[in-house]
Symmetry: C2
Subunit: 188 residues, 2 copies
DNA sequence: CTCGTATGTGGAGCCGGTTCCACTTACGAC
DNA sequence: GTCGTAAGTGGAACCGGCTCCACATACGAG
């Protein structure tokens, strides 16, 4: 099934798949015992095995949600087809925040994912950045948003909004802050 | 010395003071063993005593840095005296981020402090909000910044920038994001 | 087939956070 | 001064994250 990582020994690949399945189950459970020990146990492997494959919790979270993140990134294209580019970006920002705040364990992993420089964790980050870039340049060409703000910065801004809105269910705060960010992106 | 909390038993007040002194020492030490156990030990009290006084780590951090936070908030007045209100706010934002990123343990405690609703932890939050409000309304009166964005939102925006800039030493990112926030605060 | 080794594995153990509870003590009432 | 009790205390114990290392095993070379 999952075929992350090259050239794993057959048994190791088996174990990794079971870990990811267990993680997906654990994260989506309401009571959410997402302790790594519990996930390892549920996958029928030792903790060391989990750590070898996913050195940081963020790595496990990233891998678990990878396909959903891909879907989020891909949805930018849909929005661009229906809306003006600036409106598409604004709508996508809402989706981003909803996604991060909804998926169990995602918000805590966000900084590690967005700041990813090394390793495999960059995958999600690159997808998200590319999605933003597409909308941002389209809007810049339309003249509705500034052309001098890098997509990276916009991504980090959205990330910052997500982080500060995470504590307590401050969804309205997030909305207002996203509006503020977009206002800052308007050409003068 | 410190006289937080009303009507503590004499010995309890003693202990609380010693905890705060130990915490201040621990946080300012380079190698920084800021484990609560270590701080309690250094203060010569049991962990339970520390927890009774400061139920969350954030409470301890807030109390330890209280006077410095007061100074930060007060510095807004100085800036207002020297600069145009919008420039003062922008300069103060830099101070805020530098402060939060510099003080050991502060960044992690930030969400808890800014989101503080109950308890005594609100003290720092209120001071910071008031400082922002002063600069923001002055700028609004001068017509250089919007009047329809609440000081709370600006505070949260600065907080978000701080959080996302915390991982890795991304001081330049913070600068760019703060510029973006201020751009969003400009009247159209 | 067999065998050496790179690859992979489990769990014990350490660390920091946090809770709980049996014990101690300050201090106001008398 | 003495005493009852509310307030305060210490540390054992539990939990989750994370590391380390002695042991197991897939699998390609021969």
């Amino acid at each position: 099934m999952t075929n992350t990582g090259r050239s794993l020994r057959a048994d190791a690949q088996e174990n990794q798949d079971r870990i990811l399945e267990a993680a997906a189950r654990a994260f989506s459970r309401p009571g959410a015992d997402t302790s790594l020990k519990a996930i390892a146990k549920e996958a029928g492997v030792g903790i060391a095995t989990l750590y070898r494959r996913f050195p940081a919790r963020e790595d496990l979270v990233e891998a678990t949600y990878r396909s959903e993140t891909e879907r989020l990134a891909a949805s930018a294209a849909d929005l661009l087809a229906e809306l003006a580019p600036d409106a598409a970006l604004r709508a996508w920002m809402d989706r981003f925040v909803d996604y991060m705040l909804t998926k169990n364990g995602m918000a805590e992993a966000l900084p590690g994912i967005l700041a990813a420089r090394e390793g495999l964790r960059t995958h999600s980050r690159d997808l998200l950045r590319a999605a933003i870039e597409r909308m941002l340049t389209a809007a810049a060409e339309a003249g509705t948003l500034r052309a001098d703000v890098p997509a990276d910065d916009v991504m980090m801004a959205i990330g910052g909004v997500t982080l500060i809105s995470d504590h307590e269910d401050q969804r309205e705060l997030a909305t207002r802050l996203l509006d503020l960010v977009v206002a800052g992106l308007r050409p003068r």
